[in-house]
Subunit: 248 residues, 6 copies
């Protein structure tokens, strides 16, 4: 099985972090392919950067999805998720979506920890768009930007653990999702300090993508996610133009 | 007052339709500026095209918002709405958002009529994201693509009227929003054939944008919609790069 | 345009406050007519007073709506809103409704500040009846009655600012509505001390009423808000009796 | 136990219907006192009439609640319910509220049958305000005004049975509430023709009022429903003025 | 009237507590029959024990419901409620359900106090399953197991009062339900120390059961709660086998 | 990996059906162990049978979970799901839960097809308890009992296809879950006749159980799903008594 991991920001180090987390859980026969955005935000830390990254996600799947069996969106805002599901014939899984869905099998109430207080409302909205409003215990944000983890990992780890424990004690969270591509792979290091299971979005997404590929479900032939039947777009790359046009 | 109307698709005829609908309600002292997408979808008829159009919206406001007092997104999916609110210091209003908000002063239950059955779920989701789930009577879709209105306007008018009446009779809609930039300006022609008020998203958005500009509310200095403080993006236009960087 | 502002309590000073706030935003060509309740509560500070004020609202519109182009209910509980919409052929806008609707264009999560802790549940219910449950960040109440603002304005201003800041810091409010007719016009004085936009219900309602009048929507001919077709009432004023009877 | 049944419309025949239904279920030791509105709507068939009837309800309890152990609001819109709960020290029960609450012990999904298509949205809103949105299977309205039942009872009975059966077959209703004071007492006559239990709001309210009186719960001393502490109102009856003032 | 009170745990002392609370409110002509589980959990303090107690509830009604006019489930998790409603022809009332329904006539927002922090999420879910999500102010749990009340009643009383007051002050609860069969009968002793009405689930359930029996509603002949028509079960008691088979 | 599939009804043929469906998707290294209820309902077709089956589920995991890496509840009502999660240290997955969670990666709106019209409300409630209310397009029930599939498979297949297509055409379902253990394994045979993906709950559950086992999440040490710390139960099997007591 060939699995495409899409990091729409332009920071290759994030792709590296994601690939290591993916490799830790992927099946032996799964080949992992990681790609990094060629344009767009350096790191997504606002709604505006997320909007711009939608184009980057589309460009990356247009360039790299051919020959893959499934796609993981390695961006914690699940940017472009349903657009990709519409355009592609293969399963597409978002990392925060995956963490929340898998989390539903772990606890009735889920917490989310992420960076940037300004994104708290966005993550709450995202959880609601995934239909998880009734499962959300709360969103805790760290008082530092995502980039800090490269400079001061121990300091950030301490902040994460504290935030997780607040979600458990004050909001009755029964599991906590570490939301952020740069947080991929941290669960083993932090789990001992938090009394409920920690969820890694990338790990969950890789496993769900493998599961979806195993199911071999067909593309919908009717309804909201059926092929668009060929749409015209202008001024974008030839690969993306062909993808919209429905050409192989 | 100078009002920017943003049509992120590349079809200038749609911008023309929008401008005529806007002019019909704008205040005498309001100057209307309409701009058309330089790249992206010809017409938005799928989730994927909507995702791509986010970049187009950002590009258009980066190029044209300076010197304006407010922005109207003349795209019925309210593409890039919160991203623009985050980036800009002036009010930004989406046309479907505006139609729904204004509709809340008209009836307790609102219907939506639009093109493309595949977009029914998207519009329902959009209404929910606007917090309007409890006000939505239903979404009726026309069995033709949006482009048809240029070829067979009378036929499409008949379909719209029939859909509105179904929403009134079967779903208890007390007002109906005509959702689609190409439907802007149709309300006067169709109103007599529908027993409840018809809402024109562009007209509502222009009036709300004028109202918001009159209120002279400041940009938030804290929280989810405060200035991002300078974000780095790569491979996009200089104007958009400067907008993300927070440079005038 | 002639705009009727209805204050159903019997305190003329409140009408004065409301008229000043309205005049600050109304269009040059808008004539403002303010009326004060002839019977009913001195100030509305409980559910029971709100119930009684419904009659007062109906009486005021029966006496004064003729010849007007729109009505603003200058009572922060939006008393009699849908009843008036049913009876009248012109737009009717509630001040808290207007503040919430306009606020939806400002932030994804809205706070409300008002007087009287006992009314906290009422405002929450009111926001839910307006379909705004998912947009409500919280309701903060001041530990003083509404009348206090006439005696100790500076003290009340300090309480309001503190309450707004609590809503921003603890509940992630991105905008705050000052709910209370006696709070009309305070936004300019308090805005500098609060880091998110403050919404003035009366100002929002005046602008929405003007917008609605500009749209020239017809009265519904079918459904829940169509004319009642003549209803018999007893023991009330001749003007109100005629209004119920559907007589001009 | 002395139970006050309040019919705020001015039609004494409706009070008679209500009293017979109440007598059929009241305990042997319960004394029933029925009162009819002295002013207001002849029959409530619109939102505007409901708004006016709030004053009538308040007037009736001001005049008649003294010496009673509980109050039943014999008006299917539960007019003035929370206002009365705030003002009075004794239990107050609404007939539609009672039917819905009792219905929750009968089925997971409840239907409502009532008159006047225009009131369908109102009853749906009412059920939601009672927190019953998730329990509501649907609201079916009869294509005749409430007054018709006095002229053509058999015809109306047939319409009711048909509506109940539609709610069962198409909306999976497991019990149906006959909402309308004029429908009080009909359950025995119609039950055989409907395959799920029929709920009589007046009967349910009388039994809940007796139950609440038996519990001997105190008036809240804090919060939203505590005594208002004396409120000033003008231009209403002396009894109502005293009730607002908190004077015995 | 003969009323069966079902305590599915195996602790007879709990049945005694329940019977005293029931006797305090039951009508003079009501005969109370209390039964205790013959197998299953000693006290229910987890989801697993609740699951096991479902069998115990079914066994008890199979053995004892014949000849009764209604059943009260004297277990605060309302264990087996809808299963019993399906199997039996007589009304069945859960004690927490009853407390919440009766509470809806007392306040718009209800608090719940119970034992065991681990059950907080369960009670919240239970309230939601009863359709009470919008009425729930909060769930406060005592930091002691239910059994403690037999050893240190005064200490537990103090904890309950403190928890009630937190729900009033911090969560705007207008009434509080004491959830737990071992808490039955405590309301009179604790009421003076809490400023809002306290609800006793057993008392409420007895009164609702009497009310339901008085209504004489028929068993549904169609839909989700109609007789199952004879179902085969294996390896359970003869009485339970006959009950499933639909044999008298 | 050793995976326990629990069929709590007493019909071994259903276990056989489930095992074949599981084997079709399980990883090569996964060992599947299927167990059938020793007492309880022959087939679950009512709420009462589901209640009884809770004991059967607990008994089966007490007898067979030791040495397994995960448990799949092969009963479409997800009977005993959270009870098992509380008692066991290994992942537990319900088949309908799994179908809905996996379905969330396939479409925004999901349909459910199952047997027995009386269970429609139960499945809707179940979806809501899983937090999926906003994702549920509808529940379609077949007009035959589950047992029919053994006698007339082709006839039942036709009914299923028709129900799926109704959900797609009338309710905008983008994927449909075949809910019922006896329907396990049917997806390949029916997929060609339905234009949207069909979900097999057992297949989804096996894949999710494997994924969860791969994640190696620890048992919660705090909160609602932490070990119960030893609970006393009476009159049940020694193995179940030991499981409740927390003894290995």
């Amino acid at each position: 099985m060939r699995l495409l991991l899409v990091n729409p920001n332009t920071t290759a180090a994030v792709t590296g972090t994601v690939m290591r987390a993916a490799a830790a859980v992927a099946a032996a026969h799964t080949e992992l392919v990681g790609v990094t955005g060629g344009f767009g935000p350096a790191v997504i830390g606002s709604r505006a950067e997320e909007a711009l990254a939608q184009h980057s996600v589309l460009q990356l799947v247009a360039d790299h999805a051919a020959g893959c069996d499934a796609v993981v969106l390695a961006v914690s805002l699940d940017t472009g998720l349903w657009a990709c599901r519409e355009l592609l014939d293969i399963p597409v899984i978002g990392m925060t979506e995956a963490g929340l869905l898998m989390g539903c099998t772990v606890g009735t109430r889920l917490g989310i920890v992420t960076f940037e207080h300004r994104m708290q409302a966005f993550y709450r909205d995202l959880a609601e768009r995934h239909g998880m409003a009734s499962r959300l215990a709360g969103v805790a944000t760290l008082p530092v930007p995502a980039e800090r983890i490269f400079d001061d990992p121990q300091g950030v780890h301490g902040e994460i653990v504290a935030a997780c424990n607040r979600l458990v004690e004050q909001h009755d969270a029964q599991a906590v999702l570490l939301a952020g591509a740069v947080l991929a792979g941290l669960q083993p290091a932090l789990q001992a300090d938090v009394p409920v299971p920690l969820l890694d979005g990338v790990a969950c997404a890789v496993l769900l993508a493998e599961a979806r590929a195993t199911l071999r479900l067909p593309k919908a032939r009717a309804g909201s996610l059926s092929p668009t039947g060929g749409r015209r777009v202008h001024g974008v790359s030839p690969a993306l133009t062909r993808l919209f046009a429905g050409q192989p």
